[in-house]
Symmetry: C2
Subunit: 190 residues, 2 copies
Amino acid sequence: MQERAARTHRALILAAAEEFDRLGYEGASLARISRGARASMGALTFHFATKSDLAAAVRAAGRESVAPVVRSALGGTRAPLEELAELTFTLVRLLEHDVVARATARLERERPRGGTSLALEWVPALRLLLERASAAGQLRPGVLPETAAVLLTLLIEGAWAEIGRGRTAGVAPGRVWELVLHGVSGGADK
Amino acid sequence: MQERAARTHRALILAAAEEFDRLGYEGASLARISRGARASMGALTFHFATKSDLAAAVRAAGRESVAPVVRSALGGTRAPLEELAELTFTLVRLLEHDVVARATARLERERPRGGTSLALEWVPALRLLLERASAAGQLRPGVLPETAAVLLTLLIEGAWAEIGRGRTAGVAPGRVWELVLHGVSGGADK
């Protein structure tokens, strides 16, 4: 793709993300997206033949925004539970601040069968970090990495649902994390 | 309302819940709902002038299905954390098995501003039970009821999001609850 075309492609994805995040799939207007990207409708349909193609491109971009966060956590050198805390907080912050990730989550809520789930990017990483934590003796005796991974998955999904509704929890995430950490590891002192 | 009209009203709400749960607000067809309720389109529009009215009625019915669960937990005679466990499990099961509750949750995800949030029914109850648990010495020292309420709210919202996508966690809920309980209270032995 030529540089100008690539720039238009990216601008369209960003404008589409804004629109899907705000109004959902059905509410999104292709005319407004093309205006938002300062592109013609012709350019939009050249890059994305249908609204469904555009939504799929936004979802692919959303997965790409999660991938480096996950790689960084898996490649980190700190204790597994610290990497896990960092990954969890970053995933929640990403939804708060990255419109492409937020649009991806909304599209996925609305059209579960419209593409690969974002969870496929980060759930395996949670499991892997918890298995490492278990191997490093960081988990309480009897706590299975699998169970802790489900707990964290539900928490992250729950935080995303709240963010999607424009609600914020109103409690410092660090305090909530301390409860989770105590449940999983027996305390922050490990 | 006459008995027959009340029966039709209820049948329309149930058929609408099936349809909203399966296809969402935009995808729902009023013609299919009237057929599902064995009512005429005339009867449907007599009871609900618009699709939006019908969705509001489903959401009100969803809140009504949650209310007795909450009342039972608040009026229970067991230790507060036991009532809390029961309430949490029941709220998750409700979404799994009650089509009206499930449709309510989906409509709320899709149209956050379309009515009163279901959370208003159960979040205050979580807080109250956790305050009672705190007063009864069931919480770990330093754990604020408010923080524990946020943790549980996120977990329940997360479980609902997973159910909405047709996924199930694949881990016994009791194991996940044990982690939460340990984090909140310091262990199941309290």
